[in-house]
Symmetry: none
Subunit: 194 residues, 4 copies
Amino acid sequence: MTVRSPGRPRSETARHAILAAATSLIDEEGYGGVTMEGIARRAGVSKQTIYRWWPSPAAIVLEALNAGASRIAPLVETGDFEHDLRVFVRHSVIGARGKVARLLTALMAEAQRDPVFAESFRNGFLAQRRAVMRQLLDHAKSSGQLRDGVDADLLVELFFGALWYRLLAASGPINRRFADDLTDALLVLAEGRS
Amino acid sequence: MTVRSPGRPRSETARHAILAAATSLIDEEGYGGVTMEGIARRAGVSKQTIYRWWPSPAAIVLEALNAGASRIAPLVETGDFEHDLRVFVRHSVIGARGKVARLLTALMAEAQRDPVFAESFRNGFLAQRRAVMRQLLDHAKSSGQLRDGVDADLLVELFFGALWYRLLAASGPINRRFADDLTDALLVLAEGRS
Amino acid sequence: MTVRSPGRPRSETARHAILAAATSLIDEEGYGGVTMEGIARRAGVSKQTIYRWWPSPAAIVLEALNAGASRIAPLVETGDFEHDLRVFVRHSVIGARGKVARLLTALMAEAQRDPVFAESFRNGFLAQRRAVMRQLLDHAKSSGQLRDGVDADLLVELFFGALWYRLLAASGPINRRFADDLTDALLVLAEGRS
Amino acid sequence: MTVRSPGRPRSETARHAILAAATSLIDEEGYGGVTMEGIARRAGVSKQTIYRWWPSPAAIVLEALNAGASRIAPLVETGDFEHDLRVFVRHSVIGARGKVARLLTALMAEAQRDPVFAESFRNGFLAQRRAVMRQLLDHAKSSGQLRDGVDADLLVELFFGALWYRLLAASGPINRRFADDLTDALLVLAEGRS
DNA sequence: TAATAACCGAGACGGTACGTCGCGTCTTAGG
DNA sequence: CCTAAGACGCGACGTACCGTCTCGGTTATTA
């Protein structure tokens, strides 16, 4: 028994046009060219409609990321730690290329300017990504596939740190090779291999 | 016999006032509040003077960082790899706190918006920091203190990745404990310890 | 056997609330602050309801004026021209003070902006007021109390002109003294007194 | 020895373009269509430049009126009261037609909305016009051309009242006939003619 | 000692985006 | 058929910065 409030319902058309406009603007003009005004123009929407639902361009971009990327690196566990970790890292790395990379770097940049957005980005998106990997490590620890005394949180930060650094500092290619190198290092730390 | 061009020389007073204004604005209002206009106002300087010497606020901030932080983690090598690495990491981590942290995150954010600045920041500041650590690893390898097949570049990225991720994602404290945890992990990877 | 159209009848509650909101808004915020949006808010009424019955804020204000001021200077004729004129002028002047003054000036201002409203205001309210005075003069002329060749229309315009000028230009007090001075001047022109 | 302040001087080009844009907009779209935005567009000028010098469209229109109409009814006195009054009235009436009429009604309307502008309009333009006629009457009184006990201020208000009422209420034509009818009435009141 | 040159402050200029307000229209649920 | 609620495209508001452009003045070197 859903209760419907009166009044004209929110336009899904407008919402999609706004998200699409934001992402296409990032691609074409870079994040510096993404403005509320520009999104409104391209989406054929009034500024008021945008401000009614989002406080900033970053919030729009974040929603676009979440909408289009719910499938990024969904955790698939077989129970074989090495295999699961390798798959997770590959998905995470490969999923952070191209358009998604532009969204990600834009959001991280904006989080440094806007404390309100920073809070939602860090506690939302970033924490969630860490939690996924953390869960994988926890299961491996439970099944005795990790050596004693492994600091799971540190492994998580090493992985995401390296990935984000590649994105933000453009210090090298983001490809399968990079993913596997990272995986190997993580395995050394997690399993005590040499 | 220094060659002096004719005309009024550049005012050091103005230069210092501008750098000071930029850093104090970052502290007080966050990076979003740092504008050419605001810097000119606070420094008691005309906008023309600023534009004559810097193309953007980020360039000013970068110069302020370099000016005030030339002493950050100058490499001090004793030849004992473990010790030298630990000292380097500690200096790097401790040096990236407080006001310096605000400068760093602001610059990394701006590099995502402004491709011109990005080029100078990545190839200048970031590459230089990596080179310092890289040198330390190279010396250790030369003296046989690293196991064979160690990927020095990967170690560098793991370290700076984790440090920058802490800065940008505010995922945890930036302190000596964090530095030593990182050092331990790096040693495992570099020396094959378990 | 009154014919009633089907459907929900018009809400008198809403109508009164709208008129009251409009007049109170003029008093509190001046005519510039009277908007359809603001009236709806204050009256607790939807905008649609207002637009269904009135085309503009001015139309609402005009209705409020007519509703609350039907008793302004109703012509009372005793047959004594001087007395009747004096009474009419006094009523007209005194009746154009306070809240009514604010309504009147607002309407005259709006008539300069909105040609549609101007037509109804000029041919309705303004012409009607002139007609009342004109009737008084016609009766006096019929009974031989005006000298020959008097231009009744000019007298009407001199009176309303002076009154409106006081209202719009705030060139002096609007009181009984002003009314009687005007009356005396009109009598000179109408009766040939000196 | 004029002291010049430093900085770029005000652009006369921009000033003229703004005044011209404002008057042409009034002609073409009516006063309701005169906005800061529209003036800026038509004048090819930034909004900031307008706001730097004028607080409202009405202030621009007032300046345009003063600039273009300094020659309106400049008092020309021969000493012959009847003649001088007739000329003054004719000039005042004929000068208040066409484009000037649109400026005048727009300004009077705006004075009802904006108390700040009202003050400058009433104490500036309107009071000045009254003062001119007042001076004419004073000189006539000094030379014994007015009967005793004439209330000069009342005559002034009767004249300007009638003129403004014609403008605002569109109650009749604004032409030489109207001017002379008014003059005749004023002479009756001033000289005691019959 | 003058001329020349590069700097400095002040501040106006044409622009673009900001975030808000009101417009008049529309689409709901409900009396 | 009316009402309230409220979202919609639209356009103006007044402000903040952008980067550029004159101005009047101030130090320097060079002739």
